[in-house]
Amino acid sequence: MKCEWVRENILLFVYNELPDDARYELEQHVARCGDCAGELKATRVFHATLSSLPVEEPTPNLLTASRMRLQEALETTEQGGLWQKLTFDPWAWLRQMRFSPALSAALLIVGFAAGIGTMYSIVGSRSSSTPQIAESTPSSSPAQASISGIRSIIQEPGSDKVSIKYDATTTQQTEGSINDQRIQQLLLFAARNNYNSGVRMDSVDLLTQKPDDTRVREALLYALRYDSNPGVRLKALDGLSSYVKDDVRVRDTLLEALMNDSNAGVRTRALQLLEPVRADSSVRAVLQRLAQDDKNVYIRSQARTLLAQLPEID
């Protein structure tokens, strides 16, 4: 029965879908049963074979072209749903109330007021500046859809002023404090989208000065997971280091880097940063796996050392 249960759950084990207790039971069984160990190995090999089909990131050009095409379409598309309920066909409401004159009058007044209020809201939102969300005006607030690339990011030594060169339809340059909203937007864009790894590294480096900002932390997590340059991923790691204890997302992303990053330096650094939270059950599970069968001698040895420092689980 045990072998049967194990074989039914081996796939979930490889995909890390088992609860911790089931995972532990399966590991214990496989350590004693040669047949099941063989099946686990075969499933892992098969999993790795399928993983050899790459999942390519969309190129910056493809992403930019898609965004621009969408933006053009949005110019001429009307929203439905809530808008239509507020402004569409008040006569249908009145027809329902034709036998109730007082209610009809009340509804007419309410409908008229709602229409006026809606129009005020439309006019108000279009004319006012939107301090939280940047409009697409190249001279004042650059929006991502009008930017085709970031050329350079330069911080003035000894100050928080940053000069960023970016391409819209022509090359433009803006300067401002690192705390400036538009500078932040450009840095966030550069961290995710720029084809030049040097520019991405500069932007991630500057963003690490403000990792409290949720958007910045997301950008750092994204860089750690997806950036093709190991230097950029290392910078992102350093920027996230103070959040490993308190932010489970950061911890999980570091575990992911530790397990799967192609660069040994990134993996080693992730392992160092996870040391203060080694008692976490997910961290412990990963350390156990690394200690058993990681190909990197240093990482295998460090994982064993960290596990040896942990108290036994009852």
């Binding site: 995909y15 993983s51 493809l62 929203q79 749903g81 969300i133 940047a134």
Partner: protein, 212 residues
């Protein structure tokens, strides 16, 4: 980490920012429902790269992926007023995208297309794996050829799956989502998603068995 999307993460979600991003999404969705287009565009930027990556890997074509991207976000824009926060925006947008991709996969099945190659945005065909940058390719052309053949076999095996099996497998294996999330996206239970994954894997092992 780059080059392969099969992270097999010990994580609760493959996309960075999924959990705390929900707070920002709620504010942005409410703004977008009030007609703030910039808020909607910001929402788009939270997810569009992942959407495009999924569409590209499933369709194998840049132009088809762009069409899915366009249709998905336009649909979301038109119907965002009906969004009632019964699920996250992430789940909602992924539902729209997966439905569009399922339609594409079903159309391909009807036409019995065998697509070992993909098309770029200008309609030119190319081998999917030929786009994978590999600095070592020039030094080892034999290994490069083996990789391409392997990729071709895997693609042909994936095409033997039903559209739903293909979608579950794609979301779990290549996009790294949890089965619970896969179930939510496909409007089914985690158990059903699990069973679909088992079926898909068995079919793939049957098709690729001699590669073990």
């Amino acid at each position: 980490m780059s080059g392969s999307g099969t992270q097999d993460p010990t994580t609760r979600g493959h996309m960075a920012g999924h959990t705390t991003g929900r707070i920002d999404d709620t504010t942005l969705v409410r703004e977008a429902q009030r007609g703030n287009r910039a808020a909607f565009e910001e929402l788009v930027r939270h997810y569009d790269q992942a959407v495009l990556r999924l569409a590209l890997h499933l369709t194998g074509s840049e132009s088809d992926a762009q069409d899915v991207y366009q249709d998905a976000f336009l649909k979301a824009y038109k119907s965002i007023g009906n969004f009632r926060f019964e699920c996250t925006f992430y789940t909602w947008i992924y539902r729209i995208v997966t439905n569009l991709c399922l339609d594409q996969l079903r159309k391909r099945q009807v036409r019995k297309e065998d697509a070992p190659v993909a098309k770029d945005s200008e309609g030119e065909e190319y081998d999917v794996l030929s786009q994978v940058p590999d600095g070592r390719a020039a030094a080892n052309p034999e290994r490069d050829l083996m990789r391409r053949e392997l990729g071709g076999r895997i693609n042909r095996a994936l095409e033997k799956l039903t559209p739903r099996e293909r979608m579950v497998f794609e979301l779990k294996h290549y996009q790294g989502l949890k089965l619970r999330t896969v179930g939510e996206i496909l409007n089914t239970t985690e158990e059903t998603a699990k069973n679909t994954l088992f079926r898909a894997t068995q079919k793939l092992r049957g098709a690729l068995g001699d590669m073990r």
